[in-house]
Subunit: 212 residues, 2 copies
C-alpha cells in the first residue's frame, strides 16, 4: 500500500473527468493539448489509485472516491478483537469496598459484574465507585449490585464490531470502557474489555506500524 | 492524497530493484520477459508513489520508503493543540471532598492543582481521589496538596508536541491525562488538558474525516 500526492496535471485530469465524464482518453488529451501517449501513465495512476474508473467504449468516469476515503475505509475495517483487553469481573454480592480494592489490584478503570453463572449483570466504573465513596454509607456493607449500571442500560459490543463504531460509542456515552460479549444459551457472557486506553494504543500503532 | 495497492507485477519490479538496483528499465524488462513499453506505466506508478526513484544514466533504485511510512509520517505530524481540551484547576488548599465534587461538576477525570499565581503545582487523578476516599480520614479536612502528584513528578506536554508522542506517554506512565503547559516568567502555566478521550476522538476523526 502506498500514499501518493497527485501532480498538477493529474489534478487537471480529475477535474476534467469530474466535469465531463464519462469521457474518452482522447478527449481528455485534446482538452490539455497533449497526446494520448503522454497521458497514459497519469491515467493509469488515477485508475489504480481509485480516483477514476474506465469502461470500454464509454470512457473514464469519476468514482467519487478520494484517496482519504480509501484510507478511512481501511481504518473503519479495524475490529474490536484486534485491540481488546482481558475483562476483570466481580460477583454481584461483593462489597463496594472490595470492588475498589479489586480495581486497584487489577489496575483497571472498569469492572464487570457477573452472576453465579458468569453472565453479565452490571458494570462498575471508577466514577460510580468514587460517587459512592463520598456518601455517608459504610463501603464494606454495600453490595455492588446496589450501585452498578445494570441491564438493559449496559452498552456492549462484540469481537467483530468495528473499532471506530465502539470508539464513537465511548465518546457519545462518556464512558471509559465497554464489555466485549458473546451471546450463549445461558445469556450474555463477558469475553473482553475495550477501553479508551485500547483506542490510544490503536492510534499509536497506526502511527508506528502503519497497520492500516 | 490517495492510497494504492500494488499489483503482482509491480511487486515483482520492486523486488528486482531491491535486489539489483540501481538497474535500468531495460534490465528490469529483460528479467520479466516483457518490453520496456509494457513496463512504463508500472514504473511511473512506482516512482510517483515513492517506492522507487530513478537517476538518468544510473537507473532505478529502491527508496526504502514504503507507502505506510508516508502515511505514518503524516499521522506523526498531528499536534497536541489540534485535539486538546480546556483544563480544570483547583487551588492547593481545597479539600479532597471539594476536589471530588469539582470533578463531578466539571465531568473530568483529572484536575490540575495551581498555586495563587496560577502556576502548576500538582495533578489529581480519579484514581488518587478514590484511593484517599477509602482511607479512614475525613475527606473534607484533607487538603489536596497532601495527596496530589507534585513537581517534579508531573508528566507534561506543550501545544506543539506530537500527539502520538503524548499518546505513548499516557500508555507508558498509565495515566489518563497530561497538562498542556506554557513556560512563563512566573513559572509553568497550565493552558490545556490532553486525555485518552482526546486520543479516542483523534482516532475517530482519522476514520471519518481522513484528517491525515
Amino acid at each position: 500500500m502506498s500514499t501518493i500526492e497527485l501532480n498538477k496535471r493529474q489534478e487537471q485530469i480529475v477535474q476534467i473527468v469530474k466535469d465531463n465524464g464519462p469521457i474518452t482518453g482522447e478527449s481528455i488529451a485534446d482538452q490539455l493539448n497533449l497526446t494520448r501517449a503522454t497521458l497514459r501513465p497519469d491515467l493509469a495512476i488515477l485508475t489504480m489509485s481509485g480516483y477514476l474508473d474506465a469502461r470500454p467504449r464509454v470512457g473514464y468516469y469519476f468514482t467519487g472516491k478520494t484517496g482519504s476515503q480509501v484510507l478511512t475505509d481501511k481504518i473503519k475495517k479495524l475490529q474490536v478483537k484486534d485491540f481488546q483487553s482481558i475483562p476483570v469481573v466481580v460477583a454481584e454480592n461483593v462489597s463496594v469496598y472490595d470492588a475498589i480494592v479489586t480495581m486497584f489490584l487489577e489496575d483497571v478503570g472498569t469492572l464487570f459484574v457477573v452472576d453465579q453463572g458468569s453472565i453479565l449483570v452490571g458494570v462498575l466504573s471508577r466514577k460510580d465507585l468514587l460517587r459512592t465513596s463520598i456518601g455517608k454509607q459504610e463501603l464494606s456493607t454495600i453490595p455492588v449490585n446496589i450501585i452498578m449500571t445494570r441491564m438493559p442500560n449496559i452498552t456492549m459490543c462484540e469481537r467483530e464490531d468495528s473499532l471506530i463504531d465502539v470508539a464513537q460509542k465511548l465518546i457519545e456515552k462518556q464512558i471509559d470502557a465497554l464489555p466485549v460479549v458473546k451471546l450463549t444459551e445461558k445469556g450474555i457472557e463477558v469475553i473482553g474489555r475495550i477501553t479508551k486506553t485500547n483506542m490510544t494504543k490503536a492510534l499509536v500503532s497506526l502511527a508506528i506500524d502503519g497497520l492500516v
